[in-house]
């Protein structure tokens, strides 16, 4: 069959040439399709390679996470506060005037900078977001309150844990 067509096209007959063009187009479409499939299939491993691995639960260990860079001495008296970290995230820990230890994930709910403890309020230097000491956004661009964490001291170290019901704050 293909042999006949070859003979025809090399003979230069008009029908033969059109036939050869059609065959050529079909071959190109097939090769184009195969190449596209091949490229698509090889993009998948590249995409998976670039995709980040799922982040581990920060409280995986006994439902709590050790606090870094803040010691109990840093928050010993009312009105003291300091930025630190837990499981790779930022945390702001301070002691209220009533003596209660409080902790918030320090990532501002606006654009993600770490907020600063300023005695009466929590303040973000990037775009001027202001939160009160309950973590409620009271001025500036933040759309939501900060995420509160439960802070506690154990054997001279600070830990934070997820608060089961954020409303009890």
């Amino acid at each position: 069959m293909s042999e006949t067509r070859d003979t025809e096209s090399s003979a230069g007959g008009p029908g033969g040439a059109a036939d050869a063009r059609r065959g050529r187009r079909r071959f190109l479409a097939l090769m184009g399709g195969l190449s596209a499939c091949w490229t698509g299939a090889s993009l998948y491993p590249a995409y998976r390679f670039l995709s980040p691995q799922a982040a581990p639960d920060p409280f995986a260990e006994n439902g709590r996470a050790a606090v870094e860079k803040v010691t109990p001495a840093d928050v010993a008296r009312p009105g003291m506060g300091k930025n630190g970290g837990y499981a790779g995230r930022g945390v702001i820990i301070f002691r209220t005037q009533a003596g209660k230890l409080r902790a918030f994930d320090s990532k501002c709910t606006h654009a993600g900078c770490n907020v600063e403890f300023q005695g009466e309020r929590l303040f973000c230097n990037c775009h001027g977001g202001v939160y009160d000491l309950d973590g409620t956004n009271i001025a500036g661009p933040p759309p939501r309150p900060l995420t509160e964490l439960e802070a506690f001291e154990q054997d001279g170290l600070l830990y934070v844990a997820r608060i089961a019901d954020p409303a009890k704050g």
Binding site: P52, S106, A111, G112, C113, V115, N125, H127, P141
Partner: protein, 372 residues
């Protein structure tokens, strides 16, 4: 005199244009032309001309941006010798404090980047107000927009690499904004960061973008952009095009205009060196992902406008601000498809007014962002 069959004969107009055959340059050029029959290309380029009018100086902006790009490539290659993506801050500190001329080369890279962005804005707005984007030059405009976008991505990715306080929070803010984008936002932010937060993994991604992906992209797009300009010639503003033919004055691009640009290029290079010497680029303390953002933190001037927008639209209004900024960028892409008439009609005048308003808004937001 018959040449060997293997060689191409030199066209007669080439013979007229080339230096004498007995000079070294003339002999070398003839030898090259006998081997590569590219005279038609050269003849075409020799015909390229620049309209001569009051605003001719603005035609120098594109070439000037290329000069700054060349400085970026040269200093960027040098910085890569000492930069370590696994020890970002320490390696930049070493460049600044220990490597001879390290602080200088880094400062040149910083200042040339700033001037390149500034020149591209000038280039874009000058072609905009001269209405050079109208058909048949849509692709020139689109590739130009892409080049501005790639330049800003260069600035954005390069900003993180020193891994100091400023770069860490600037990147975190930008990616948090991307994360808020509807639909694919969170997916894209995670993919760019390499996880839920900006970490040393993010450096790897930004480094690869900054030194391989974006350079390849910028060279490819510049090639397309320059090809458009060579094939279509320089656009003539309406007022110039309306002149009677004999009153139109042109300058040859390669023989005249480009040579006249050399002093501008030298002055621009001198300006970069002077700025780098007078205002060296500092290195803030190493990024501490746990510390509070430092007081008074501000982005570079070319990102002050979006920065100010972020502050102006609080809370849930923020999506409006983001929508306005993205709308302005998409609107810029649509310009050559909306304003098409030559000479400019009512649409053209509205477009000019919109562009002026956009420029004014950008300047006001930038100054406001700086002062606030």
């Amino acid at each position: 005199m018959s040449m060997d069959q293997r060689f191409v004969p030199i066209p007669s107009d080439a013979e007229d244009a080339l230096p004498p055959a007995r000079s070294t340059a003339g002999a070398a050029l003839r030898a090259a032309l006998r081997r590569f029959p590219i005279w038609p290309v050269i003849a075409f380029l020799r015909g390229k001309r620049v309209p001569q009018h009051r605003a001719t100086a603005w035609y120098a902006m594109g070439g000037l941006a290329l000069v700054f790009l060349a400085i970026q490539i040269a200093t960027g290659i040098l910085l890569m010798v000492y930069y370590r993506p696994s020890q970002p801050w320490a390696s930049v500190q070493r460049i600044v404090n220990e490597v001879p001329y390290g602080a200088f080369i880094r400062s040149v890279h910083h200042w040339s980047a700033n001037l390149m962005a500034l020149t591209l804005f000038a280039h874009m707005f000058s072609t905009f107000f001269m209405k050079a984007y109208r058909p048949p030059r849509e692709l020139t405009w689109l590739t130009g927009c892409a080049l501005l976008g790639v330049t800003l991505l260069f600035a954005f990715s390069g900003y993180l690499l020193p891994w100091d306080d400023l770069s860490f929070f600037a990147t975190r803010v930008s990616l948090t904004e991307i994360e808020k984008g509807p639909g694919l936002g969170p997916w894209l932010a995670d993919l760019v960061r390499g996880g839920p937060d900006v970490t040393i993994d993010t450096i790897g991604r930004f480094y690869v973008l900054h030194v391989t992906v974006l350079p390849l992209a910028v060279l490819a797009i510049i090639g397309a952009h320059l090809l458009c300009i060579q094939l279509q010639g320089v656009s003539e503003p309406d007022r110039f095009a309306a002149l009677p033919e004999r009153e139109k004055k042109y300058r040859a691009f390669f023989g005249d205009f480009m040579i006249a640009e050399i002093p501008i290029w030298l002055a621009a290079s001198a300006l970069v060196v002077a700025l780098a010497a007078a205002v060296p680029r500092g290195l803030a303390p190493e990024a501490d992902p746990f510390a509070a953002a430092p007081a008074g933190i501000k982005p570079e001037w070319y990102f002050l406008a979006p920065y100010q927008m972020l502050k102006l639209f609080p809370g849930h209004l923020e999506l409006i601000g983001l929508g306005l900024m993205n709308g302005a960028m998409l609107g810029a892409l649509a310009v050559p498809f909306i304003d098409r008439a030559v000479p400019a009609g009512a649409r053209g005048r509205i477009m000019t007014a919109l562009g002026a308003a956009g420029l004014a808004g950008f300047v006001v937001l930038t100054v406001w962002g700086r002062l606030s």
